[in-house]
């Protein structure tokens, strides 16, 4: 049988960071997948050593555009511990509000991308249209559509008022309805269920050894969520359910995200209605931290995000280690593809919600005659090898 090597990477027509997936297939069956990295390395950890604690917030925030508020939160809550600062409760609620809005937009984005990968262009466009409502809310609260930049050491930069609260509640109603609709589509559409079910099953017994995190972990039956196990910001007070499923396949991973998005809608509602009075914006910006070490953990939309921050006193950090959820989810799941069809590879990959997405262009090399053909991701998802 012909073994075909298919590099998938590194440029996508629409979004996400570049990565290269090398897929070796025998006929239609995947034999091996290896992940090639390095296209997105920006030297963030070294940059954080060279910049002050305050500037570090903005560098940390730009590690990821899609989940930027959680990066800032993880960094800021760690640094605040080193500086012995406790942000006021209202600031914690506002931080949580922004992070949950981010979760909603991020989950809608990956659901849209999954629709696109299996050929549902219209569904992709519709979800993106509805996602614009969430972007509007993000802009309303933080002043920006993408990079929230809402955190300050000791609080937040902006507050919300009654007018904003009313607008948020109004939009939430529509957003909630739309997400419920998409959830129903993913539950009942024959093609979606067929394509996603049983693709890339990760069993509960393997999940912990593979160090998968976030919705990917929770779809394999393990109820682990940093917001409830290791609470931070306003999560000790804002009620929510930890969503998990038992199937462990791509479908379950997408369903967990859709259900989580609905939980987040409820959380945002709770926050704007029950937010405590008091100050949110700090008066002074502290500059120096005490010597010490802190491990800060936050539940990003993709999973557990961890910052290990070490200080020897002074204006700059000594060492900052950032471990993103995708670093675990993408690198450790190479074996999951084996035995699947080629067309399942994009589906499984997107189901991990990679903050690094593979790309549109794929080169198919026929081992026999060395012929190269260019295929689009969408076409790869339809491949049938005779």
């Amino acid at each position: 049988m012909v073994v075909v090597e298919i590099p998938i990477g590194p440029q996508h027509p629409a979004l996400h960071e570049p990565i290269m997936l090398k897929v070796r297939a025998e006929g239609e069956e995947v034999v091996e997948v290896s992940v090639n990295t390095g296209y997105n390395h920006r030297g963030v950890e070294k940059l954080l050593e060279k910049n002050s604690w305050v500037r570090g917030m903005y560098i940390a925030d730009r590690v990821c555009g899609i989940c930027n508020a959680v990066h800032m939160q993880t960094y800021v809550q760690g640094v605040e511990k080193l500086m012995d600062i406790e942000p006021p409760p209202r600031a914690n609620y506002i931080r949580t509000l922004v992070m949950e809005l981010e979760r909603i937009h991020s989950h809608m984005l990956v659901v849209a991308v999954m629709a696109e990968v299996i050929g549902f262009d219209t569904l992709f466009m519709m979800i993106m249209r509805d996602r614009e409502r969430v972007m509007y809310l993000k802009e309303l609260v933080t002043g920006n559509r993408v990079h929230a930049d809402i955190h300050m050491l000791g609080g937040v930069k902006r507050d919300i008022d009654e007018a904003k609260r009313d607008k948020i509640l109004k939009e939430l109603g529509v957003i909630e309805e739309r997400i419920k609709h998409y959830k129903k589509v993913f539950e009942t559409d024959y093609t979606i269920v067929k394509r996603l079910s049983e693709a890339g099953i990760i069993k509960r017994s393997e999940a912990l050894r593979l160090s998968i995190v976030g919705p990917t972990l929770r779809a394999s039956g393990i109820k682990s969520d940093v917001r409830s196990d290791d609470p931070y910001a306003a999560y000790p007070e804002v009620p929510f359910n930890v969503i998990s499923r038992d199937e462990g396949d791509s479908w379950a991973r997408m369903m967990v995200r859709l259900e989580e998005a609905l939980e987040s809608v409820n959380m945002v509602r709770y926050i704007v209605e029950k937010i405590p009075q008091g100050p949110a914006i700090p008066k002074a910006i502290p500059r120096a931290a005490k010597p010490g070490e802190v491990i800060s953990r936050v539940e990003a939309p993709r999973g557990e995000l961890l910052y290990h921050i070490i200080s020897i006193g002074g204006a700059n950090p000594y060492r900052v280690k950032i471990r993103t959820p995708s670093f675990l989810n993408i690198l450790n799941t190479e074996k999951v593809y084996i035995g699947h069809r080629l067309a399942d590879v994009p589906v499984i990959f997107v189901s991990y919600d990679p903050c690094i997405s593979c790309t549109e262009r794929v080169v198919v090399i026929d081992e026999k005659n060395g012929k190269k053909t260019y295929m689009s991701m969408r076409d790869l998802a339809k491949v049938r090898v005779e």
Partner: protein, 139 residues
Amino acid sequence: MGLERVKAIKYSPWVMHFNAGACNGCDIEVLAALTPFFDPERLGVKLAPNPRHADIIIVTGALNKKAAERLKRLYDQTPSPKFVIACGACAISGGVFSGSYPVFSRADSVVPVDVYVPGCPPRPEAVIYGIKKLLDKVG
């Protein structure tokens, strides 16, 4: 002959997006710019399926060195006439990553750039405005 081909681009510019080490912020705004909400198709803008069909390359990111090699290759594969838009602070000057060891920091140090769209990230309207500016410049 050159003018005829340039006129064709003016009414139906096909755009290819390349992420050269970006945080995705610009990428999702470029993506949003290509959805009906912002309606780029009124300018004839469509996503090109591969570089051989592209007229405009939109570059985001601080030009990670490994990604920059691929960008160069992609640029060479794209048939003339071709244009480049550097989208976002990182592609223009490196943004917050300026000077970091694995990046080149400036898109124009790797490929010739025709239009710079500032922002971190620029709004989808700004991206479309950048494409329009390019079309005006070309026409």
